[in-house]
């Protein structure tokens, strides 16, 4: 499942940046998980155990000292939450992350529409940049609709869940992506009309 693949690759990245108390270059070869009839969820947990078993053993030896790198490493089975519960949230998070939020983007005068995933952007600036890139072949110049832009003839608008066309940029980003159904890059006089209202 896509979600779990993401989780596993995240795990690999985590391991790469994990701080361990060991000589650089020494890395015990990964022992394969013993064959078990479990589904991949359990295999994930076993992989989890593998990369953490090293850091866990520190607990017994260095009970007094709590070096900063050690505190950051996750410990097996701590906090004591059942895998069942942990997985319920992780699976759902992964599902949400994998799902994406694709909306159509139309631009006045362009022969075809595009589709973008709103979830990959962190804010309006990134979105605008992405839209510029998408439609630059139609020679736009700058896209307006945000603060400090002038001299161009386009406004980025969106249709919200009530069916109204709104100017992009007024509401907080999170609220925007939860209500945006599609985007439209409006041109010419229509755009000027929107921009003139404060």
């Amino acid at each position: 499942m896509e979600g779990e693949a993401t989780y596993v690759s995240d795990l690999d990245n985590l391991k790469a940046t994990e701080l361990r108390l060991g000589l650089p270059g020494t890395d015990a070869p990964e022992k394969p998980t013993p064959a078990s009839p479990r589904g991949s969820k359990r295999a994930l947990l076993a992989a989890d155990e593998e990369c953490q078993s090293k850091s866990k053993s520190l607990g017994a030896d260095s009970s007094g000292q709590e070096a900063a790198p050690v505190a950051k490493a996750q410990v097996v089975g701590w906090p004591p939450i059942r895998s069942y519960r942990k997985n319920s949230f992780q699976a759902r998070k992964a599902e949400e992350e994998a799902a994406g939020l694709f909306v159509k983007v139309s631009m006045d005068g362009a022969p075809y529409l595009r589709k973008i995933d709103l979830k990959v952007y962190e804010g309006y600036k990134e979105l605008r940049k992405a839209l510029e890139n998408l439609f630059k072949c139609f020679s736009l110049g700058e896209l307006s609709g945000m603060e400090g832009c002038n001299g161009s003839e386009y406004a980025i608008t969106y249709e919200d869940k009530d069916g109204d066309w709104m100017l992009v940029g007024d509401v907080p980003w999170e609220m925007f992506i939860s209500s945006c159904k599609r985007l439209r890059i409006m041109s010419g006089s229509e755009a000027r009309g929107m921009r003139s209202s404060p």
Binding site: P34, I81, R92
Partner: protein, 612 residues
């Protein structure tokens, strides 16, 4: 929720091993002919003893003399086995011939937290085989932390014609195929409760087990499958609910949307327990449109005159929450522990819940949410606050403020499980004074070895106050920065403590010694990552036969110490568990699990388990 399965909870169970307790008289299996007068006495005894239900009472009765032992064995109907390896199936079935209900527990509790490698054991197979032969009239089975295969379920379904109730709690190894056989073959099934189990093959082809129930009216009273990861055939489920007039408890999984739930509810207004599944809209969460009308949903809930327990809410759409207002006043049990809601979303709900006794919630509701709980739920007996982000360095959403608020508002509190990032001694002391009825106190300070964040002191005084002031305390889980002093308190005052969970605590062997010497009722001891060594282990030799088990992982034990225990206590099974056959054969013991047993070393131990 598991309120009704109190016999499965870690705090109140059937005492010392159902079968293992009174076996001093040897195998009662062989029957020599009994004189007539003795036979009369036994008949009288049987008629009296059949009214004894508690396993402790029965164990005591069985120790009086041989006739009593025999009479008790003949009249016992419910068999409680707290550790499946404490006695062999053969021995249990030979002694108790007329069992109708069995409770069987397997793996140590720390298996829930991935501390026990896969394939460690606790196989149901030898038990179901023995029972299939010995107990044809078996009606009820409750398994906890057992490894259950589909073939076991199949054998079960085919061997017990009168089978009525199956509860699987924290089990693994079976799949929807096994469920299908149960549904199809157990024609008198009343209860099928799957609680936090791990099903196999959820990503592969799953079997449509819900369609396999009898097509006629069923006798189902309880159906719980919220842990089943795969979607069930909804039409079949709806039809099943429609032809199950006795259904009182229904817990669906998160694949059931709130619209579908509406339809199910319309079929079963007599429900007392409802697990609501996702309680979110079938439409993608961020795109509105379609979805339930809150008014309709509320109306559906309003028809539920007998509803006392609500759970589920896996993907709760906050705007749907008001639908449950009509039933809140009657609720005694509410499980929001999978619902990521804020204090603002909780308040309007909890305000109505005057009769709430059990409440499980996520810390996302923050101290403010807990204050709202404290303000309304004056009858609260059990509270569990789970972390939304179960990592050590997550933002702490609840704190000493919430704990104090609860202690002030909910004076009848008996059981608490509280996850937080940090705590103060003062708050814990306050709780110890306000909640004198506490039987279970489990505080998990997720930051390991974290001191009182206001004073910088260890958390010794807080836990000390708990054991001192809460005179009914039976179960304790400690955390945070703790010195040997905390253990001294526990040993001195925790005279009724039966279960103790320790993590990242203590300074020296003295800590463990205090507990082993002081806690005379201790049954279950689980310790991880604490600096206790061989001499501490050996100081408890006088206790281990009176305990169900001891678990110690990542402590300072050595093979020599463990071997000595094994030698001195022949009826104790001492297992040393290695993670994946570590090459380093050092003297250190990473995981120790030891338990009293009449069965000797088990013959199904995997290669990474060494029995000393």
């Amino acid at each position: 929720m598991r309120g009704e399965r109190s016999d499965m909870s870690e705090d109140e169970d059937g005492g010392r091993g159902g079968a293992g307790g009174g076996d001093g008289a040897g195998d009662g299996g062989t029957d020599t002919p009994v004189p007539f007068s003795d036979q009369v006495l036994e008949n009288v005894l049987e008629n009296v003893l059949q009214f004894l239900s508690s396993p402790q009472d029965r164990n005591a009765a069985s120790l009086v003399c041989l006739p009593w032992y025999r009479a008790e064995a003949q009249t016992r109907r419910e068999l409680f086995i707290g550790n499946c390896y404490a006695v062999s199936p053969r021995r249990a079935t030979e002694r108790f011939r007329r069992i109708r209900a069995v409770v069987l527990k397997g793996k140590p509790r720390f298996a829930d937290f991935n501390l026990v490698p896969n394939n460690w054991g606790a196989h149901f197979q030898p038990w179901v085989s023995a029972m299939a032969a010995a107990y044809p009239w078996l009606e009820k089975l409750c398994l906890k932390r057992m490894s259950v295969a589909d073939s076991d379920l199949s054998l079960l379904a085919h061997s017990f014609p009168n089978f009525k109730e199956l509860s699987l709690i924290c089990c693994e190894g079976f799949s929807t195929a096994g469920l299908a056989v149960i549904a199809e073959k157990c024609r008198h099934l009343r209860v099928l409760d799957l609680i936090e189990d791990y099903l196999e093959g959820e990503e592969d082809e799953t079997v449509d087990w819900v369609s396999r129930f009898p097509e006629t009216t069923t006798s189902l009273e309880s159906l719980g499958f919220d842990c089943v990861g795969s979607a069930v055939n909804f039409e079949a489920l709806e039809a099943l609910v429609a032809r199950s007039p006795a259904l009182r408890r229904l817990r669906v999984n998160h694949h059931v949307s709130v619209e579908q739930l509406c339809r199910l509810m319309a079929r079963a207004p007599q429900l007392t327990h409802l697990g609501t599944g996702s309680f979110g809209s079938a439409a993608a969460p961020l795109l509105q449109g379609g979805g339930c009308s809150v008014v309709d949903l509320a109306r559906t809930f309003a028809a539920f005159k007998s509803l006392v327990c609500l759970s589920g809410f896996r993907d709760v759409a906050p705007h749907c929450l008001p639908a449950i207002y009509p039933v809140c006043a009657n609720l005694t049990s509410l499980n929001f522990s999978f619902a990521n809601i804020t204090a603002e979303e909780l308040k309007p709900v909890i305000r109505h819940c005057h009769n709430l006794q059990n409440f499980w919630v996520l810390d996302a509701v923050r101290d403010e949410g807990l204050q709202a709980v404290a303000a309304t739920c004056k009858d609260l007996r059990e509270l569990r606050v789970f972390p939304l982000d179960p990592t050590e360095d997550s933002e702490g959403f609840v704190s000493n403020v919430g704990l104090v608020a609860i202690s002030q508002g909910c004076r009848k509190l008996r059981s608490i499980l509280y996850f937080c990032q940090q705590m103060t001694n003062a708050a814990v002391v306050t709780m110890s004074k306000n909640c004198q009825d506490l039987v279970v106190f489990r505080l998990c300070i997720m930051g390991r070895r974290r001191p009182d964040h206001r004073t910088g002191e260890p958390m010794d005084e807080g836990f000390g106050a708990i054991v001192k002031n809460c005179k009914k305390l039976r179960r304790l889980a400690i955390s945070g920065l703790l010195t040997d002093k905390a253990f001294a308190y526990i040993g001195k005052y925790g005279k009724l403590v039966r279960t103790l969970s320790v993590a990242f605590a203590g300074d020296t062997d003295l800590g463990l010694r205090y507990v082993l010497e002081g806690c005379t009722q201790l049954q279950k001891l689980e310790i991880r990552d604490s600096p206790f060594g061989d001499s501490a282990l050996l100081s408890g030799l006088h206790r281990y036969y009176n305990m169900r088990f001891v678990w110690m992982s990542s402590c300072k034990l050595s093979l020599r110490g463990c071997k000595e225990v094994a030698q001195r206590l022949p009826r104790l099974v001492v297992e040393v568990i290695r993670d994946r056959d570590e090459d380093d054969d050092d003297e250190g013991v990473q995981k120790l699990y030891m338990y009293r047993s009449l069965a000797g070393s088990r013959n199904d131990a995997p290669s990474f388990v060494e029995i000393l």
